[in-house]
Symmetry: C2
Subunit: 251 residues, 2 copies
């Protein structure tokens, strides 16, 4: 399993990804799921991956190879918009799925895969896309300012309640880490290290970047502060109304 | 879908259940999922249901019929322990599954079903069981003081972080409602009204009981207080360490 999430805010983008891959509880490995494509002062693109690792690796390698060889066609470093970059990644994913899929399907192996692609290209605002396993994609908006892929449910409530586009990147990053903490408490197939990256709007730099291990003191502090804070908050909630013991057609 | 959860605390038990049943987004109905079996000063048993409604209804009706006819065999109102009550409900579920299952399986209809059964019988401590679709069951302990069935993931982090056996029933009930609020924000197949019941240890009464509708002001207040509190809490978290922009074998 995997947990990746990305937030689109007024001041830029925040990305987070775990690093565990498993093919059963007895076949666990560490693979980082955040990949960065940079061209100084022109663009920073970030890809987060979820799903069948052989599929996502192949698609990303193909995208990268095209970049290094600087072929005639477009690459993630030449497209003029993030929409075109999402399209390119989606097309590449389709290519890999079509080549590999039938062999995996013969053995009932799930070959679905998906990506989050976000970043900024000179001349555009920062943008964030979710690319589905079929290669189609959607873009984040102010109403839905974040996307998740992988084991998404445990970490969704905190994002739902806290993330608004006007948050600072650092405050959003802390909430995103809480979302990872919530997920990792419940699903052992989501694991350390966590890669965290903040992209400030119009800065085109990856300097705000962290790799947090299991024993990272700040991550542990954050988890403890959050749990303690929730307990206090729960205790401070307004009480319930008087019991309604009369039966209103109920149980 | 369904969301039901029950908590086992030092001071008693807390139960919550939603009321939505669906067979596709265009086939939604309201069915309460909390059923109470009472015998004054002797016992209060509470059953929460999840899964195929025809299966859970049939099993509960059979358990109830046996009670009303007061047949020779044991019923939920005569068993001398909650363990035996869980066994009886599990056996009844197996009976229904065996009778109905093959017909549903022919059409690939999911006939899985599960129950939470909790309460207190005179002479015993309050106890809480989770009965699986196969009729087997497990009991809650101090280390794992709660069970959930149905759409469990969205509402789990709050329970994980807040519920400890020493909580008061009312504080635990409020946290349970937050867990429902988190779930209903993300899964529209979990819906109002919410049935909420607190069973105080050694009291054998269902007087602490609520049915909360969508427009219940206290539920709305609770959800708003929680969201506002989380925003404040998130903003108050200790900051991250300095960025680690050097590559540690990473993305």
């Amino acid at each position: 399993m995997t947990y990746c999430a990305a937030l689109k805010l007024d001041k830029g983008l925040v990305f987070g990804s775990d690093s565990r891959t498993n093919a059963g509880v007895d076949d666990i490995a560490t693979f980082r799921k955040m990949k960065i494509f940079e061209k100084p002062n022109d663009r920073v693109l970030v890809v987060l991956s979820s799903g069948n690792l052989s599929i996502t690796q192949a698609a990303l390698t193909m995208v990268e190879k095209r970049f290094h060889r600087w072929e005639g066609g477009e690459t993630l470093l030449t497209t003029s918009s993030l929409f075109d970059a999402a399209n390119l990644l989606g097309e590449t994913l389709r290519e890999v799925q079509q080549r590999e899929g039938p062999y995996l399907a013969q053995n009932n192996i799930d070959f679905s895969a998906s990506f989050l692609l976000g970043g900024q290209i000179q001349g555009e605002e920062p943008r964030l896309f979710r690319i589905y396993s079929q290669g189609n994609f959607i873009e984040a908006t102010r109403e839905t300012p974040y996307f998740q892929i992988g084991e998404t449910k445990y970490g969704k409530p905190i994002l739902d309640r806290v993330i608004t586009p006007d948050l600072s990147l650092m405050d959003a990053a802390k909430s995103l880490l809480v979302s990872f903490d919530s997920t990792m408490r419940s699903n052992i197939s989501v694991g350390f290290p966590i890669d965290l990256l903040c992209l400030e709007k119009d800065v085109f730099s990856t300097r705000l970047r962290w790799t947090l291990d299991e024993d990272d003191p700040s991550f542990r502090t954050l988890g403890r502060e959050w749990s303690d804070g929730l307990k206090h908050l729960a205790a401070s909630l307004t009480g319930l109304p008087p019991p309604s013991s009369e039966d209103r057609g109920g149980p």
